[in-house]
């Protein structure tokens, strides 16, 4: 079963807010000067910010903020966030892999930005709605 896709807009302001909330002030997430110096095309989103947005999608699909039992991803491609009002978009989809007898649902999640996968092996286990 395929779950309804969710789209997240990500702007520079979102990265700054996430940096402050998470305590991750690595300058590749806010300075084009530093990002390009280390060979990136420009400022990129925190991998953990992408993971947090996808986690939000998973919790919303689960229908409860406390339903996620297990959640893991591999970061495969940076999410480049241009310095404009639109920023970029991350699209998240998921398929139900199986539902276990003890009421857990396993999801295979896909996250893309500009048509390219930004996460691999993104999997979540959620408690089926109470």
């Amino acid at each position: 079963m395929e779950l309804p896709a969710k789209t997240f807009q990500v702007t520079r302001a979102d990265l700054i807010r996430y940096a402050g909330a998470s305590g991750d002030f690595n300058p590749i997430h806010w300075s084009d000067r530093v990002a390009t110096k280390v060979g990136l095309p420009g400022v990129i989103a925190h991998g953990m910010f992408t993971m947090a947005l996808v986690g939000r999608a998973v919790a919303e699909w689960a229908g409860a903020p406390d339903a996620v039992v297990e959640y893991g991803v591999r970061f495969t491609r940076p999410v480049v966030v241009p310095d404009d009002d639109q920023g970029t978009e991350i699209e998240v989809t998921a398929k139900v892999r199986d539902v276990t007898e003890d009421g857990l649902t396993r999801l295979d999640v896909t996250a893309t930005c500009l048509g390219e996968k930004v996460l691999a092996q993104a999997r979540a286990v959620i408690r089926t709605a109470r």
Partner: protein, 148 residues
């Protein structure tokens, strides 16, 4: 310099307790656009059976990233931070983090390897309350890029 495989299995002393504040959970939830009332309103969280507001799933990384410096900055292991890339991240929850938790991290090096000129480091952080109640186990895998 290849990472020393003899570090596999090494466990570090528990970190100083991290006090999870209600406003920190609200701030983190707002930063990721998580609007569910249980992240913001203690009564909504209590209705789900939690003592206070519930943290979103990736919130524990605030605590574990800080704790992982114990490993990444261990001079004996010798990780070159400027070449460190976050490869994988995984959480296995016993229960969600809630405001009021005092969390302690115990770091273990699960794997150290070198392949294709790159170093790989997998850490496991067991996050528990100061009373010893397990909350979440967190794995991170880092790639230490080799000199091209």
């Amino acid at each position: 310099m290849p990472l020393d495989p003899s570090f596999v299995g090494r466990t570090y002393p528990p970190t100083a307790p991290y006090q999870v504040g209600r406003e920190k959970i609200r701030e983190f939830a707002s930063a990721i656009g998580a609007t569910d009332a249980a992240h913001h309103d203690p009564e909504a969280a209590q209705a789900l059976g939690h003592p206070d507001v519930v943290a979103p799933p990736t919130f524990p990384v605030i605590v574990t990233m800080a704790a992982s410096r114990q490993i990444i900055e261990d001079p004996a292991l010798g990780v070159d931070y400027s070449r460190l890339v976050h490869g994988d991240q995984r959480f296995a929850y016993t229960r969600p983090v809630v405001a009021g938790d005092e969390l302690v991290c115990t770091n273990t090096i699960e794997d150290v390897s070198t392949r294709g000129g790159h170093g790989f480091l997998t850490t496991r952080t067991d996050v528990s309350t100061v009373a010893g109640e397990p909350v979440v186990a967190v794995w991170a895998r880092y790639v230490i890029r080799g000199e091209a």
